[in-house]
Each structure stands twice: as C-alpha cells, then as structure tokens.
Subunit: 270 residues, 4 copies
C-alpha cells in the first residue's frame, strides 16, 4: 500500500525509503540502527538524587537522562513534581554529564517553558490522545517521545503520531509501556509484539519501557533483553539510587548497580 | 468508613448526608431524585441540523441540549468541529428552546471561551486524566460532566472528580459511557453495574451514555431503560435528524422520532 | 440475512418466525414472554441449607432451583461439591417444592448421571468451549443453560449454542454472567447490552446472572431490575440462608429476605 | 515464602531446590537449561504434509513434532481434525524422524487413546480450566504441555498446573500463547513478561508459542528471539510446507525455510 492511501500517510512506512533516526541532543541518535537507552528516576526529587543518578547512568552508557518535573498523578493529593525547579535540576545534570534530557509535559501552556530546558519532550500515557497538547509540542520541533496510551490500539497510536508529523515535526519516537488487561499479576501487560508490528507499519523508531510495562524491578533486565531481541530501537528505564525511598513508582525502579550490569549484558557498556 | 480516611474525601459518600443534585441552567437539576436527559447531536454541524434537533428534543422533554463544537478525533484528518461558530449556534439553540447547553472542552486555553457559552462543561473520555484541564474547568464553577475514561477504574474516576471538587467546585456529574474490553461485538462494553456501585461510593450524580456505550442506535432504547432501572440519575443520548448523514458517530445516533418514543416509554414525556 | 448464509444457521434469528421458549420441568417456561427466575445456592452444602432455600424461594415465586453438586474450582484444594449426594438432595428439594432443578455438569462422563436428576443441565463459564461436553449434554435433549465464557465474544457464544442445536437439541437458554475486563472494582463486568444485541441475532432466550456478574450482593437487586428492563427473559440469582457462611461465593449471595423483596419489586411475587 | 503456605504448594518454586526439566520422548528435555523447540502444523492434514514437515523441522533441529488430530474449533462446521487417523500419522512421523510427538487431547474419554500415540499431551487454551480433563491426563504420567487460557491470570494457571501435580505427575510444561485484550491489531497479546515472572513463582519450565501469540507469521521470528531473551525454556511454533493452503491458522504458520533460518539465528541448528 502506498502512503497516499494510508490513513496516517506521514507515519506510514511507505512514506520513507529508510527508517527514521531521531537526533537526541547534540550527537546522539535513536532509530535506524542506533539503540538508545533513556534512564533516570520517575520523578526528580532533589539535586542529590538526580546528580547521583545522572553521573552513574552516564558512566554505564545511557544515551539520555529521564526525570519527571511535572507528574500526572491519579490522586490530587499525591506528589505532583517539582515543576520548574525540577527542570532546572535536569539542566544542571545535563551540564554535569552531557546527557540530553527527556521530560514530560502535561499542559499546552507549559510547552514553551519545558522546551527551554528539555532536549526531548515526553507525552505520557494519559496524554496520548490530548490533541491540543500534541499539536503544541509538535510546534517546538524538538524530538517527541510518544508513549502508548493504556488502552490504545496500534492504529490509534499512529494517528496520534500523525498529529505531530502533520505539524511538520518528524522527530517522533514511539514508546511501548504496557497496556491494561484483565491480568493484574503485573501492573501492566507489556505488549512486545508491537515492536516488530510497528516496524512493518511505520518508519518511526520504537522503544520499550519495561519499568512501567511490568511495574516490577526484578523483571526489568529480562524484559530489556527481550525488547532488544524483538527489534526495539531502545529502552526507557527507571533507575533510582534507592528505589524503596522513591516518591513515585518505587516498585519498578532498578538500582544504579543493576542498571550498570544490565548495560553490560546488553553489550552497551562503553 | 468516614470521609477523613477516604482516598477521595470530597467525593466520598460519607462526606455528605444526602446525594448531590447539580443545577443545570436556571431551573433544572440532575441528581437526588431529579432524572435528567441530555440529548442532541454528536457534533454541531450547521444551524438547521442543530435547531431542528433542539426544538424536537425539547418538545420530547429533554433536560438539556448536547452538541460538540470542539471534537477530539482519532485522526488529524477527520472533521474537528466548528469551534466557536458551533458554540454560537448552541447559544442560539438555548435562546430558542430554553434548553441549557452541554458541550465539551479539550484545551485548558479554551475553557474561558467555552464557559461563556456553555451551561455545563463536558470532559470527554480522552480527557478524564488530563489534570491541568480538570483544574481549569473546575475554576469556572460551572457544572462539569465528567465522562469515564475508556480504561478507567471506578477509583481512578473518583480521583479525577476529586481534582475538580478539590478546587471548590462541587457540581460534578459522572457519566458512564462504556469501557474497552476484548469483545468488539459492540463499540464499547457499557458497564451498568457501576451505577449502583457509585451510589455506594459517592454522593455525586451518575448518568449513562448508551449511545457511546453501545455504539449501536437500535440498542439505545433498551439500555436507556436498563440505566434508569439500575438507578442512574439521567441519560446522555445522541439524537440526529438524519443519523445516516451525521458527520461523526452516525451508527449510534437515534432519530428525533425514536427519541420522542423513548421519552414516553421512560415516563419522561411532559 | 437469511439463516442459510449465517455462520450459526440454527441459532440465527432468521431461522424461526418467533422467539424460542424453553420448557423447564413440567409446566414452566423461559423465553418468548415467559420471564423465569432460577434461584438457589452456589453449592449444595447440606440438606438443611438446601431445603430452607428451596422452600423460601419457591414461596417468593422462583421458577426453578439452582444448586451446584459438581463445582469447578480454581484450586484443587477448594471444596469440589457433594457430587451425587448433592444431586439427590436437589431431587428431594424438587419433590418438596415442585421446583425444577438446574445444576452444572463438568465432565462428559457425568452427563448421564446428572441428567437423571436435573431438569436443566448447566454449562458453566469454564466449559462453554468444551465441545465434547456440549455434544454430550445436547444428546440428553434436556434444556441446556449455556453460560457465557469469561472472555467469549457474542459470536463465539452463539457458535457454542450451535454445537448443541446441531445435535438436534433446540432447548438452549443463554446466560450472561459477566466478562473479564481491566476493571476489578467488581468481580466481573456485567455486559447487559448483549441482551438486546442477542435479541437481534438469535431466537434463543437470554437470561442474566447478576450474582456472578457483579460478585457483590448489594448490587444484585439493582442489576436484576436493569436486566429485566434491558429485555432479558429471566434471571439466575444466588440465594443463601446465611451468605457469610456459604462454602463458595459468599460475597455475592443474597439472603432469602432480600430475594423475597426483590421478587416483589420485579412484580414476580405470586 | 515457603511452599507450605503457598496456595499451589506443588508448583511453587520453594518446593524444589532446582528448576524442573521435563523429559520428552527417549532422550530430550525441556527446562533447567534445556531449550526445546516444538514445531509442526496446527492440524495434521494428510501424510504428505506431515512427513514433509517432520523431516524438515527435524533437520532444522526441532526437539519435538506438534500436530493436532483432535481440533477444538469455534464453529461446529469447521474441520475438526482427523482423529485417530491423525494420531497414526503422527506416530509414523515419529518412526521416520525420531521426533517425539506433542498433540492435544480435548475429551477425558480420549485420553487413553491419545496417550497410546503421543509423547506429550497438550492441554489447549480452551481446556485449561477443564478440571476433569486435567485429572485424567495427569494419570497417564506422560508430560503435559499446559497452555495458558485466553483470559487466565498467572495464579489461575498455576492452580491448573497444581491439579496435575496433585495427581502425582510432575511433568508439566507451561506454555504462554497470548491473551485476549482490547487490542485486535494482532490475534492475541503475547504476554512475555510472564516468562520471568513465572521463573520467580514456579520451578516448572515455561515455553512460548509466538504463532498463536501473535497470529501473524511475519512476527514469529522476532518474538521467538524475544522469548529466548526473556528466559523461556523453549518455543512452540506452527510450521507448514504451504501456509496459505493450511486447513487452520493459515495466517500464523511459517514455512519450512523460515523455520530453518530461525533455528540458525537462535543458535539451535545442529
């Protein structure tokens, strides 16, 4: 099928002769042969936590640093993130380590602010069909990390990517992070088969978040290896110096040491 | 359990001695014994379509008029709604019929505009965990119709209501509209048991949208009656003068005549 | 569509001019205008429990008595039912009250035995795609109560009915009992919209089990009324003299008194 | 947690010091370091198809031959398998190639017959909570391949394994084959994270069926590699000399050539 007849002609694989690689920061890439690992804490909590994590994951070979400053929380009474203070800490960590910054934006009115600090704007799973936000982040022309919604089909996901591409921003990375199913043995059901399926449907890079995808730290290494074997272009992993003390998602963050070993096992340790 | 120990203390039933009724427009109510029916087209398409529908559903006994001016569409290439022009047509229909207006807002930056025209602000199923939007609509102190997300648990839904209540706006109506399940015999699975369950958990009124909930016009009358029997405080129904010509959701809209008969069968025809 | 081109030609509505009614016992019917209520305990536990329940639900206007003698239990270490002793108690309850007996059969090798005692053979939700069992129960020419499987589509359900009809046994009653979805607020998601949907697709009667469908006794009355309003041909309800002492499904059984009141509210009290 | 307090004490990992390996045929093993690949057609169709497949997959390094003689089909009008004739062809293929035979049994009354021919008895996804069948196959003391049900939780699956273990048969291999979820982009959602999760919970070997798990032949190689990387003890793969002509599951079978290449890529080609 040619791209002309595709329902999402700009995301469709038929559009481009070769897979897209997205430039992250000054000299790093994800896609088309570049395997990238985005690592860091769920939420930026304080300078010490962030710097310690950034320095360590950088040494272990991470491609970029993740950390949430604006956190979408199910309860209005949960910790909502440090906001701009968190962004400043992320920028400081970039200065310290050279790691590009990936962070989430929730509100179209915050896009300009977040884009001042971030190298990659993350659209979280609750925002993947927030079309005003998709249009707004697209306009920054920064790379966009587009997570899959918790009950989003593959086609709906590509339509959301199309909203960004249609604004002239082709720097979209898709991120599988688990879906909601009947089985609550784990937090979500990591849907790895979408990796090779997306490779058939789109030219965009696809990475996997085994931390949210399983919700269980002990499974992250095995599912990271499985993601790579399935053909993913990268990983997004929650790493925390002291997971049991994390302000959010404590169950699923791996330690600095486990991350370091995992990077070696994946053959990514520099 | 007292409200103090509830995870959503303001939405919790223990907070209030009696169920909440929400005032819609000048002199209509939903909740605590007031059964309300919100009817109208999925999208405002043009003046003729809207006026014809408004006059007819008003005669049939509808409580309020629904109609989308800002439409969240899966594809960027689908009809996205008439925007402010649609809001003006809705206001005109209100003038004509006296029906209060219920319409969706998608973008926090549009809230002030939409609130100028609408009597009730609708939060659609893609926006139910859009927390910046929830906070923004809350501040208008207008009634908020909070649809359930497609894969939202009952507790997550009450947390989203709590975001609104926590801003000092207690005028929240919950609307069940079907969830995503494995069975695609119908567009969604209408989860009617949440009606009596919510009555145990919260003081807020609960209505049902059998149009989205089934996606099939022929089932809307039966499921409207079932909703009432289950204890719902009202209904939200898609009605179109000529469903097969509708610009969106053509499969699920009922005709003006079917709506009129249904209102009689429900004992709501004035 | 004519029945000839239907994938399940014998179950298809186009096959018969009028809806099927199934004769239960000597002089009771379910379907085509006959609303039937099958009530009783999840499991037959002992004579006293069963007789007390049977006499009470009979007075309240029940159509038939349910009770499990062979129980499919997730764990091999749970109570598996009284077996033939349970069947004998059911037969005794029939003699006492005149109520026809509905009981489950799990094993094709038990069909002859169970059919000696039962008026209706129940196929439980774990057995709805147990095709050897379906063929075997069909051959008894007794009425078959065919529950929906926990993750069964409407079409798959009608195919399972077709297995029975294709053996020349047209006495099939379909029973919606809740499906598995992401939301575990309740034990299952009761899918009431299948009632009017099935009325369009098949001539077979459709009843609803709000006890398994919700897993919560306090919701059973509301969902019973909703089922009737949706057009169901009957109900299957778990009733126990002392639910908190029940050997299985204690959370979802209603008391004899609640059942009596419910039958009055449904207009079914004789 | 010790096995004593486990709900499934015989399947629980705490029961055994080391992982179980299951002997397949005379001198092959699955589990505890032995990676096994079970390959063959969905259904035995005729001698030529089966022999050609058996000889080819044997050369490619398969551990065992699969092939269905008794097929559980959604429709009573679909091809139901060759029955005993199919079993005889499987036995002939074993004589020819030395490959042990894995085949499904549906009916407790067929267990003795099937066990005469088969080396491994397969319990399909529709039968995983067919407890009479589980008890019957257990008594043969043959290895049992226990597929996961389409909407079965991990705990329910281990309870089904416990039914077999509790009969004194410890030769159980668990097989993940995809679950039912809202997303129908693929036939099922392959739940690979259960592989490392099961490794934490049980000593039993776990294999993966990427053919049913995805329903799409082009994804089978990638998901086979991912399964191995996730820590699975083996694979079950549908292979057909001419997939487009297959009598069932034509979409998901890979060719003899693709299987051969895949075995090389997995490092399993002898």
């Amino acid at each position: 099928m040619g791209a002309d007849s595709s329902p999402y002609p700009k995301a469709d694989r038929a559009t481009r002769a070769e897979p897209t690689s997205v430039k992250i920061g000054l000299n790093r890439w994800i896609g088309n042969g570049h395997f990238g690992v985005i690592a860091g804490p769920c939420a930026v909590e304080n300078e010490k936590q962030l710097m310690q994590t950034a320095i360590s994951v950088s040494k272990s070979g991470a491609t970029a640093l993740r950390g949430g400053a604006f956190k979408p929380r199910t309860s209005p009474y949960s910790f909502q993130g440090l906001g701009e203070e968190g962004l400043k800490l992320l920028a400081k960590a970039r200065t310290e380590t050279g790691l590009p910054i990936v962070t989430e934006v929730l509100d179209p009115r915050d896009v300009t602010l977040v884009a001042e600090y971030a190298d990659v704007l993350q659209i979280g799973s609750r925002s993947t069909q927030n079309y005003p936000l998709l249009r707004e982040v697209a306009k920054t022309h920064k790379p966009i990390l587009l997570k899959r919604g918790m009950s989003m089909t593959v086609d709906e996901w590509l339509f959301s990517a199309e909203y960004i591409l249609d604004q002239g921003n082709g720097n979209v990375i898709l991120c599988e992070r688990g879906i909601r199913t009947f089985d609550h043995s784990l937090r979500h059901t990591l849907d790895l088969a979408v990796v090779p399926l997306l490779k058939e449907k789109t030219h965009l890079p696809v990475i996997v978040d085994p931390s949210h995808g399983t919700g269980k730290a002990s499974l992250v290494p095995a599912m990271s290896k499985a993601s790579m074997a399935a053909g993913a272009d990268g990983l997004m992993i929650e790493v925390h110096p002291n997971p049991s003390q994390a302000l959010s998602d404590a169950e699923q963050a791996i330690t600095l040491e486990v991350f370091s070993s995992l990077m070696s096992e994946l053959g990514l340790r520099k």
